[in-house]
Subunit: 222 residues, 2 copies
DNA sequence: CTTCATTTATGACTGTAGTCAGTTTATAGT
DNA sequence: ACTATAAACTGACTACAGTCATAAATGAAG
């Protein structure tokens, strides 16, 4: 058996905003956190290098230096693991995509740019993205459901602000609930994304179709 | 080995509209058709009785009276098989849902009723529906892609007519392409459906949320 | 009817996701 | 420090989806 690492590497991962419980963290909890990080990292690398289907859970376990069964203490299934891997990156991608927007631009342009950025992320590995999109709406575990909720809440919130701004500047009708509008806009994106990954439309068609769909939703503001 | 049936039972299944090639149909083709029908039927029954995960492909093959390997000559995967089963029923459900609409009613009411009918179908077996919705946007084989396209084209076509009617009666702004609007409306339905099946919202919340989302899209007509 | 080529069928077999009974490790109590 | 309880870990094992080399069935050609 290979010698197990003893938590020497810096474990100071990214901390969430709402957090104030660093003291109650015994060896047990630390080990768990560290192991989880190793697992997710191993999965990220292997999925990226060899693809989802071609990577076995054994290989992931080995790379993370844990037993076969231990893996499933941290992820309900291989697919669940994939969502774990993507989750962090997707939130980061979304954040970057929003930051990159130019405040003065017309709402429609901003939206197309925003969603194109997000789509660009998935374009790096459409095979993984396909499986991810399949799984993401149907969380395999409560933890995962919370992750997805967090991601969607963030996106809806930011999108909602975009809408609110457009409403203030008279670019969009004031009556509509910004969050509901945000959900509709995201629905436009998600369906077109699935259409692309499912083979219904080409990558070239994607921005045009998306723009058309968004325009329909947006034009509610005229 | 069990004696194989010899095509005694009435094989006059439901015929599609566009069909005019009954002569070029040798024993070979007939056998294939019949076998496919047996497989789909067996899968339908077993999935319904025992659930997707609890049904093995062996059992389906046995019930369809074919070899284990033969099954995968007709379906790429177990999931693919599920889509095969649902596909026919979904088109029929959609057709029925559209027919049931009352022509004079406001567009929004018609849409809510329409999608509620469709959702009611999935409510009979949410577990199966969950897997189905996951698979349906990512066809596993060209045949399946064609099936899904057919279903969506039908829905978009009919929805488009509803929109066109609303435009004629001044209930909806004339400028918008009815098909694009139809796609947006369906996107509203699909996302809310996934939210329900994914555990995001309850079955009670579903109609309200759907109506709100549709209202946003519809209000483009004001 | 007899080849022969091609399509379709078959089930023993393989690889792997996920389980579980048994073991180790951490913590709390004394 | 020692012990007891609970949490976390483990890898041999199981069940099953899907493959593939071989065999049967079909139809075409003679």
């Amino acid at each position: 058996m290979v010698e197990r690492r003893k938590a020497l590497s810096a474990a100071a991962g990214a901390r969430t905003a709402t957090e104030q419980a660093p003291p109650p963290m015994g060896r047990r909890e630390r080990n768990k956190q560290e192991k989880l990080a190793r697992i997710v990292q191993a999965a990220r690398v292997l999925f990226g290098e060899k693809g989802f289907a071609e990577t076995t859970t054994q290989q992931i376990a080995e790379a993370a230096d844990i037993g076969t069964g231990t893996l499933f203490l941290y992820a309900r299934s291989k697919e669940d693991l994939l969502v774990m891997v993507f989750k962090d990156e997707m939130i980061e991608t979304a954040r970057a995509a929003f930051e990159q927007l130019r405040e003065g631009d017309p709402l429609l342009d901003q939206l197309v740019q925003l969603f194109s950025s997000m789509m660009g992320y998935h374009a790096r590995d459409p095979d993984l993205a396909r499986i991810l999109l399949k799984e993401i709406m149907f969380p395999a575990a409560p933890d995962r459901a919370a992750d997805i909720t967090e991601l969607l809440q963030f996106i809806y919130g930011e999108l909602g602000e975009l809408v609110t701004d457009a409403q203030k500047s008279g670019d969009f009708r004031p009556g509509a609930d910004p969050i509901l509008v945000a959900e509709n806009l995201f629905a436009n994106y998600y369906m077109d994304l699935m259409a692309w990954l499912g083979g219904g439309i080409s990558m070239q068609q994607f921005p045009d179709r998306l723009r058309q769909h968004l325009a329909i939703t947006i034009s509610a503001g005229r």
